[in-house]
Amino acid sequence: MNTELAIDVCGMTKRFGQLTAVDHIDLQVRAGEICGFLGPNGSGKTTFIRMLCGLLRPDDGSGTCLGKDVIRDSEAIKREVGYMTQRFSFWEDLSIVENLDFIARMYDVKNRRDAVHQSLERLGLTERRKQLAGQLSGGWKQRLALAACLIHNPKLLLLDEPTAGVDPKARREFWEEIHHLAGEGLTFLIATHYMDEAERCHRLAFILRSKLLVHGTVDEVIEQARLTTWEVAGPNLLQVAEQIRGRAGVEQATAFGNLLHVSGTNAAELEQAIAPFRTEQHKWSQVEPGLEDVFIHMMERPKQEVSA
């Protein structure tokens, strides 16, 4: 048994009728690591996370989660895992402290009162503890959710798009907390759509159409894509993008604010394609592809390439 791996699963598969939501995904996450879990909507992120915490029974696959068998010991895994659902799933007609107290009881937390008190303190919820959860704003709801996930001292946190609908300041504070907790030895698997959040992760796993595409550090992921990217500045970028899109070698042309990123995997072909557009009007420069370029590139890969 490899104690260093918090998650070590392979061949995880889930089917819903005809649809295969998760198709033989292998994933290893080291203890104390923050693993970003990326992929477009409907690619199977939530289903995969739900299988890890015993909410869904995998149709196929094996492995361990915190050293315990993901199929057989799902009840034992539940005790050591904190799961934050995509949608706020605490009791809106209970107050913050009542919610936390309930969760603590469900997990048989020792010294429950102290645990609830500490968790309120730690996430700055003490003043609002009597407020009903349903009346909280997005940022506070998310704090409550995090506090609740942590109350039983889990070793692994599975967070499913935890910062959706949360303002930038609250998001930053949230991520600081995550890094702090990771420093204490907690392992994270965080599903997200935000590139800035992805860049804060130690490692990334990208899934598309139910399959795992890439797995590695940010740099590794970018390098694996072997993408060449040109940045264009100047007027009428929309028109440039439209004209350039159909040309051989150009795989994507995406606007980034006032800039246009044109990317392709074949550097030579790409350079040929953009040659007619390199006029006085526009400033062209080759740049390092960003994570976002890479992800859009992967998401737009044709189906056959993914399933091959």
């Binding site: 799961y83 659902t85 799933s89 969760i103 469900m106």
Partner: protein
Amino acid sequence: MKAPRFSFARFKAIIVKEFIQMRRDRLTFGMMVGIPLLQLVLFGFAINSDPKHLPTAVLVADHGPHGRTILQAIRNSSYFDFVSQVTTETQAHEALARGDVQFVVNVPENFSRELLRGDRPPILVEADATDPAATGNALGSLGTLLDGALQNDLKGPLAFLSGTNGPVELRVHAHYNPENITQYNIVPGLMGVVLTMTMILITGLAITRERERGTMENLLSMPTRPAEVLVGKIIPYILVGYIQVTLILLAAHFLFHVPMVGSVPLLLIAVFVFITANLAVGITFSSLAANQLQAMQMTFFFFLPSILLSGFMFPFRGMPHWAQAVGECLPLTHFLRIVRGILLKGNGLQEIYIQLAEIAVFAAIALAIGVKRYHQTLD
């Protein structure tokens, strides 16, 4: 600012949207069609306020020819079906108390001899009158029936016996509710009806609400067993059920002066079994329903036959056999017999345990379905 004009296009858009949503929610649509059909069947075919073929026991102490004639006439009236013969008064009362028979017709000793002597011997009819509606017509028919019954026997020289008052005297003992007060029957029954409605509805909603609000996912991600969740959710409502029972019992006693002949503690024990059965139904419904509205509709779908086929509103024995068979499957039917039996007849455990066992079996089946359908996972 001027209010926008009524737009026909917008109006049409709303109508179209409603139709689309109606079509998507199959269950609701099914209920909209199913409930009128159910009502049609129940009201049209099952309910009969003039119950006939009521089970009757006979206690014959005189085997003379005229007693037989009278029994024959009673049997021919279509109100009375002779289902058993008893030999003692005690047996007769037991049969009434258990509810095996609605009437006991008693032909006393020396009936024929006294008849021929012109002594106007009595025919004693003992009735279980807990539900006045069930016995009213049958008892009403008896008077004329007896007068006509002996016409053939009392011909020629015996014709004088027919007399002005009739040859026999009809004595009716309306047991348990001698004054035919409808409330005595309805108010205890109401206890069962109220419990059925609220217990099923509340538990049905309690679990679908978790699902609708997304909190179910959270609950399932925690280390819990189905029994902890289900039983934990049930207990508070059992308490609520007892509050309802207490209120109804107090009202029955102080407001309606319903007699309480039997043991109230025994009733409270029976209530527990009945509440459990209803909560189990509620849990099963909530495991089948996708949302709170559907749970509510299912409750209504169950409640309708419960109230109509259990003997609460209409005499149970007035219904055709298929409706009685359906009624026998409903816990309310058995609970009504228990609560009326205990309060009005003074039944003890011995008379009610079969009914109680049937409710318990129902509860066990419903709970088994509920627990089986309640998934520990989201799939």
